[in-house]
Amino acid sequence: ADWRGWNIHPEGYPNTVALEQFAKDAEAATEGRVKMQVFNGGVLGSQPDAIEQIQAGAIDFANFNMGPMGPIVPLTNILSLPFLFTGVDQMHRAMDGAAGDAFDAAMQEKGIVALAWYDSGSRSLYNSKKPITQPADVEGMKFRVMNNQLFVDMIGAMGGNGTPMAFSEVFQSLKTGVIDGAENNYPSYESTNHFEAAKFYSITEHLIIPECVCVAKASWDKLSAEDQAAVKKAARDSAQTQRRLWAEREKASRKMVEAGGATVNEVADKAAFQAAMQPVYENYLKENPDQADFIKQIQGM
């Protein structure tokens, strides 16, 4: 089978390198029965579009961030809860284990099979005013967040003003003070040059949202059990590569932003931030009471 794949990242990015490895390994392991072609840089559309494409069968596989998966597979909204994981290691434990299987099952009901989980790092707050060490520091500041009410509420719970804004507008807006800050991982903070406009990077690690390597259920079901196993193994192997490259990339980016004059500060009292998220969780559980046990289970992993 000839498979078309969607990937938003550019050439040379850890995810792109890993996906290329996945394509090569899977083709070799299935003796050419699965041939994959990856379209990088989001040339086939945005992620919500690509999710629809994989469901309809226009593309066969993809590397999705789990954030925008929420509107389609409601269970995965959990992954967008701030401070869900205490760190990247816990995220790996959960996603490579029972939690990942549960998300996969939920996604399969919507026609998407999750084979392996990639990193997209941990997102932290950065701004142009001051280092943030406690929630109260956020008060009165305007932060750009991604298009999700949860993130608006997250900044709101700290007393700030969460503003969804197109990613391409963020740099100018930081520079001119339209917003005071934004939130992202090191590599984005560095490659977008946001560190030039917002010097204070505070390691809040409030969001650790994994990415998946997914295959369309329709394409998946056409494979023999052996080929499925081979493709899955190739995907899992590529996840190891991606996580290693990602960690290297994060380190390099941190060095670059610090050399570029950014001030990075640790956040000693993360519990204070977690406590501040209480209303966000309460609100979320009010709307999704059936997910309470699963959230507890993930937090205990």
């Binding site: 078309r4 629809e52 391409s168 339209v178």
Partner: protein, 426 residues
Amino acid sequence: MGLMLLFGLFALGLFMGAPVAFALAFASVVTFAFEGLPLQIAFQRFSSGVSVFSLLAIPFFIFAGELMLQGGIATRLVRLAAAAVGSIRGGLGTVNVTASMFFGGISGSAVADTSALGSILIPVMKEKGYDADYAVNVTVTSSIAGIVIPPSHNMILYTVAAGGGISISSLFIAGIVPGVLMCLFLAVAAYAVAVKRNYPAEDFPGWQALLIAFLVSIPGLLTAVIIVGGTLSGIMTVTESGAFGAIYAVIVTAFVYRELTWEGFKRAVLNAVTTTSMVMILVAAANAFAFLLTIYRVPEQLTMLLQFVSDNPIVILLMLNLILLMLGMIMDMAALILITTPIFLPVATQLGMDPVQFGIMLMMNLGLGLCTPPVGSCLFVGCVIGGIGIEKAVRTMWPFYLAILVALLLVTYVPAISMTLPNMLT
């Protein structure tokens, strides 16, 4: 095979005279079916193509341009230009070019420029003894300033067609020098022809009158300051600036100039809807078309082909310009921006050209196409206003084409003309 079907059906639709957007859409949908791709996804490309934040600026710019016309801003700009440069030999030709430069700084569209300034100036010029062909020639060619001088909704189309990643601020600011340069060349051509045909000069109305004309124009010119300034300073996004500019234009024309009637307002809204939907349906169709081009890896193949033909950047750029000029003669600008950008931009960047510079080159090149037969919307509008046939207008247009071509070649081969300002900005 699928690629041949795509282009074949598109060409067939065009030759039958189907609307460009529908020919494009129909060819794409059939090719989706041929490739076994779900048709639903073709229509997803349609709606996502239109549902783009920065494209929201397009209806705003178009609406603001309509208000300029309905509410007396254009008239005041022409009066200002007339007071400033009318006393030159063949003054109304130079006035026409100068007014286009001002108006271009507010309107984002060449057709709006032609219809606004043409309907004010062409009758006056004819009355003063200028030949209709000359009046039409100057009006039509100088209207390209509306595209090259910011703001320009065609530049927004270009950034979207390029797949994001090009800063609209850089593109806006990059257009200023080439736009002014082009107007300068056009003014020289207008002057030369005027001298040859012995056209009159107007009386200089005096410094006081010039000052008054300037002061009266300020509220209108501020629209440009709001839209361009808001964007360049980064205080607002280009979309927000466009909306603010539109609101401001309503206020100025209705309450300061007091010329905007309820009828005029309605006309502006409906005209804006008509133009917006014409442009945006092209965006929608081109988005499905581009999806197929991507799947067929067309840009990569074309780059390879061109490199096979020649490895001399000067030759390749000349070829690109020639192809674009020929396409521009037979098709409209918006459609061509959307179709050719994904194909030609990778070729240009491969040669080391900055996407911003390529964008300005594309604007001027396709802008010229708006003034040429057989398909040129500015030429058509200008000829209707001037009441002359297209052949008659085109026969004497060559000095003006030449002026634009010289500017185009300079922009193509001298990066500094377009890139100096944006490089200073960042």
